[in-house]
Symmetry: C3
Subunit: 131 residues, 3 copies
């Protein structure tokens, strides 16, 4: 297991963390998959297209109305962020094949900030043994 | 692998199962992650905030209109529950570090009932080896 | 690790791949879970009901308006597909117990095409060791 932190600069932001995940994971011999887990309840992890940055712009545009309500009870006023994390997921699992992440040609791993900007957001990367 | 069951008392209900998962998992030495999996197609598992119960109330409030339609075909009349499980996920993976669940300060594991109340809902907890 | 490909015939289509996953995985002795991962950013993997085909018809009906917008920027015009994959997930983890997939009575594994029809969609199946 290892982890890293990142700072976010926008209220809602999709940060490509693929290279940081690979660096944090180290040697992948014998590894069957990596768990990439947000340690926060207002930030998610997804695997999606990273080639055209418009894709995550569009994703943010679509997500906002799904979680936008004016009748939330939670005092902190960030229930929309909790809803977005429930929809996208707090962690993703990426298979490892022959010592490399088995990502498709366009797939990248994103940290999804929904209650930023924040300092020191934490991501855990855990190595699981293949069988 | 191990499993436990729980009864739900509401049609839509978010039950914090973190302690039951930890108890079911037993000794976590050598474990890299736990899989927590619902065995049902109308109940999901999520990781989200458990400190303020209003968060899951708000989550339920946001989810309901996303799955509420009057043109579903499925005879049993619970397609909204199947849609919610597709959106949230039937299983979650929680990393384990140094023999303890690597959950962030506010993160808890929830069983999400969308077609209750039901008796004997089953949750599988599977231990994966670290690498 | 292993993989298989499938062709899709509809723009949006839910294909039950449970038997193909089991066949691809081979001997499950010592395995704690399978990762089933789409290698594409416009196709997801879910676990949901496979007994009544109306369930996935209804799921498609509910998903479409959640991702349907006319203000997307992405040039390829398939941002709705990327949004659906973010909501459902690029990969699922299925626990294995005593050498068999620990799926509930009604649970099946689906490949979810959101930008078809396409030839040679690729699914990776990775075996993770139990602990």
């Amino acid at each position: 297991m290892t982890s890293f932190t990142l700072d976010t600069s926008e209220h809602q932001q999709f940060v490509d963390i693929t290279d940081r995940v690979i660096h944090a994971a180290g040697d992948l011999a014998g590894v069957g998959a990596l768990v990439v887990a947000s340690q926060h309840t207002t930030a998610a992890i997804i695997v999606n297209e990273g080639f055209d940055p418009d894709v995550t712009v569009d994703l943010g545009r679509a997500l906002t109305p799904l979680a936008d309500r004016d009748d939330y009870d939670h005092d902190e006023g960030n229930s929309d962020a909790h809803v977005k994390v429930a929809l996208l997921g707090a962690a993703q699992l990426v298979p490892v094949v022959d010592g490399a992440l088995a990502l498709g040609r366009w797939q990248r791993i994103f940290f999804c900030e929904f209650d930023g900007p924040r300092d020191s957001r934490s991501v855990v990367v855990s190595r699981l043994a293949g069988a």
